[in-house]
Amino acid sequence: MNRLERLIDEARREVEDNTFAAVRAWKEEEPGRACVGFFPVYVPAELIWAAGALPVAVWGGGDRIEVEMADARVQSFICSISRSTLELGLLGHLDFLDGMLFGSLCDVARNLSGVWARNFPDTFVDYLHYPQNLRSEAARGYYREDLERLGAALGGITGRTPGAAELAAAIDLYEEQRALLRRLAAVRTEEPWRLGLEEQQVLVRAAGRRDPRRHNEVLREVLELLPEREVRHKDGVRVVLEGSFCEQPALELLRTLDQAHCFVVASDLARGLCWFKEPLRRSDDPWSDLVEAYFVHAEGSVVRHFSPSERTERLLARVRDSRADGVFFCTAKFCEPAFYDFVLHKRALDAAGIPYLAVEFEEKMSSFESIRTQAETFAESILFFADEEATA
């Protein structure tokens, strides 16, 4: 295993570890360190860091957990991530967290905040509301007040209420990280065979649980090593993956897509960690910068209602910008927001003549053969029709 593979493998082992051993070790390294978990999709990580805590993405247990206790508390028709995340908590795997944050992604995520509060009465639990009426002149002010409120509440558990200087420094750090993650994504867009989708995603997911200073170093090194990697150009189709902004597909599923030569060149995977489509506009008021991040720089997402057609327009733009041949809808079972978006996206793709394939996944999936066959057929059909058009 070479250095690049070792770095990726280390990230893989950490993100697959449901006991969060590496995060626990980080916390114990220095007295006074704190960790605050967050459920998808998004929380401003820089606010948690500025309050002196490590933001930890708590995004389900994947395929490495048996859900038992959580089944009594969350019905079977609710998405797996809500149940497996609760199971992680009930198993005690999250007892190192000093707090847990939820946001207004959907009714499941929102209501889960209450279930969490009852089941873990000794943990600090908070809920952040993301404005959905961005046209209102009151919305920015409200969101800012809510961020300041949350900052003060986090300060209550860490003893370090963030001021402007701490927040600006934290934004710097996470801006650096987002720029690195954007460069990593660009590698996939330009040469998808140079970096596996699964490899890219373990590096993204690791950003959700590592000290950003350390992870930024890793990302920098990976980006330095990637151009030297010995790779072979592979033929395949280029797709935009859509619908995995919250619950994450198994890493095996991501490997399957590369193997099927269905190359994901842009995606909404782990959306909350890579949400901003460009560097944030900075000012001397970091609170306002965080507000603008959400209002102006966020990519189209169901977390945020901008206008009825914005998300579809943005999807079409991503297809265009990434020179994709089609769209691969990869939706978690029972994920209502993604299912609603699918209908509107589908209409626009049909109108634009862009091919798409829709599959559903669950955290506990163990066989990916059906998805492989579908992806292969999808890729072949795109190539076939492209050939036909070329000869016509």
């Binding site: 009594a72 508390r73 969350v74 019905q75 028709f77 609710i78 809500s82 207004s104 992604l105 959907c106 009714d107 499941v108 929102r110 209501n111 889960l112 905040s113 209450g114 279930v115 509060a117 009852r118 089941n119 908070d126 809920y127 509301h129 404005p131 959905q132 009426n133 046209r135 209102s136 002149e137 009151a138 919305a139 002010g141 409200y142 007040e145 809510d146 169901v302 209602h305 206008s307 009825p308 057609s309 079972k333 029972f334 209502e336 927001p337 299912f339 609603y340 978006d341 699918f342 209908v343 509107l344 589908k346 209409r347």
Partner: protein, 419 residues
């Protein structure tokens, strides 16, 4: 034979007439050049929109009527045909299916298209997705009133109220532009004044269930009694209706009448009803002499029995408070507290949770609520599942078995406790 009672059945009769008139008037609105706004029940701002000259369409009410009239199934399938998943809200699919089939309601009315979609987002993220789809399909303008979910147990903060109030004031300008006429503040105030009087009567009707026997079923009957206060609040018709229902209920109390021949068990209900199988569902409880004395679904459009009233002197601010306080906009600590209060205040013997797949806003957390009420509060609690719109999710035999087993056990417990 003449009935010995003067007021029995008047609630049902008047409501039928009110709704018939309402739909007829609505259907003819485009001919008269009048504008139509679509909005949702929870935290609805009917008085405000009417004072801007809009006729109102509530897609949720259409969905439940299609459910009761047993046409929701075909509507849902039509929506699934264009790509809606089997796992999303049946109300949304019913509405999309209804639109695809020309918006003709089972009772014959053709619903007009929206000129404005007002997403009075209170307690349900699906509302946003629903109106985004309608905006796309109808090409209509959509506006959102962003209503933050409540934290803590103290109710809305001053900041939250101010935030929602500002959006309501901004909405007036949008309404004036779309409706092409000026907002009438005096009409709004007068409507709010009538609203407050209707709210007083509604609370009086709900609280009549404290009597033994209860004169009403606070779920199976209340979900019908609630229709005017959620759809035409602020109108004279609504006020007259509640005056009539109050008399009907008073007469029942005097005569010792109730919804079942003999009241044996008093229950609190959490969750929406199974509209497509409503009668069957109710019968399963009636046969045990079970009467609902308080329910949360009858509060789905607004909660007044904790003391809140709209205020004609603060029509915007109190509207904001009302929207924020909606049942599904309350967090689980508040919901649990409310239900526990009902169990105590209404002398209930048990809690029944009807969990519906369609509505995650209602249902996520209900299984945990069951754990809390059984283990922490030691309240006999029945948990059943079906749906409020999709007839396919009603497993009759299974549902009946669970209900029978629960009431048998409850009866047994009483007998042995009495020994």
């Amino acid at each position: 034979m003449n009935s010995p009672y003067q007021h029995q059945g008047s609630g049902q009769k008047i409501q039928k007439q009110l709704l018939t008139d309402w739909y007829r008037h609505l259907e003819q609105a485009p001919e008269r050049g009048e504008k139509v706004a679509y909005l949702f029940i929870s935290g609805n701002i009917g008085e405000l929109l009417q004072a801007c000259g809009f006729h109102l369409v509530y897609p949720e009410v259409n969905a439940l009527q299609c459910g009761i009239k047993k046409v929701a199934g075909p509507n849902i399938l039509a929506a699934e045909d264009i790509g809606y998943s089997g796992d999303v809200c049946g109300y949304v699919k019913n509405d999309i299916g209804l639109m695809l089939s020309g918006n003709r309601m089972p009772h014959g009315t053709t619903l007009p298209k929206p000129d404005l979609l007002v997403c009075n987002y209170a307690g349900c993220a699906t509302y946003l997705r629903w109106f985004e789809a309608l905006a796309e399909f109808y090409g209509a303008e959509m506006v959102v009133i962003d209503v933050p979910y409540l934290r803590g147990t103290e109710g809305p903060t001053a900041e939250e109220v101010r935030y929602v109030e500002r959006q309501l004031r901004e909405l007036v300008a949008v309404c004036e532009r779309v409706a092409g006429r000026e907002f009438d503040p005096a009409a709004y105030r007068q409507a709010i004044d009538r609203t407050v009087r209707s709210e007083d009567l509604w609370v009086q009707i709900l609280e009549s269930a404290r009597h033994r026997p209860s004169p009403i079923d606070a779920y199976f009957e209340a979900v019908f009694f609630m229709a005017p206060i959620y759809t035409m609040r602020g109108t004279q018709g609504c006020l007259d209706y509640y005056q009539a229902v109050a008399k009907e209920v008073e007469e029942r109390i005097q005569a010792g009448m109730g919804p079942v021949a003999e009241e044996k068990v008093r229950i609190v209900m959490e969750g929406p009803p199974a509209w497509p199988h409503f009668r069957k569902f109710w019968e399963m409880f009636k046969k045990w002499g079970a009467v609902t004395v308080a329910s949360t679904y009858s509060k789905v459009g607004g909660i007044w029995d904790l003391g809140f009233r709209h205020d004609p002197d603060r029509p915007f601010e109190s509207m904001a408070e009302y929207m924020l306080g909606c049942y599904t906009n309350r967090n689980w600590a508040m919901r649990s507290q409310l239900i526990r209060g009902y169990l105590e205040d209404y002398g209930a013997d048990a809690l029944v949770i009807h969990s519906v797949k369609s509505c995650r806003s209602f249902s996520v957390g209900q299984a945990d609520l069951r754990e809390q009420f059984i283990r922490e509060f030691e309240v006999p609690t029945l948990f059943i599942e079906s749906d409020l719109a999709d007839p396919r999710y009603f497993a009759e035999a299974q549902m009946k078995n669970r209900i029978d087993a629960f009431f048998e056990a409850l009866e047994h417990r009483r007998l042995t406790a009495g020994v």
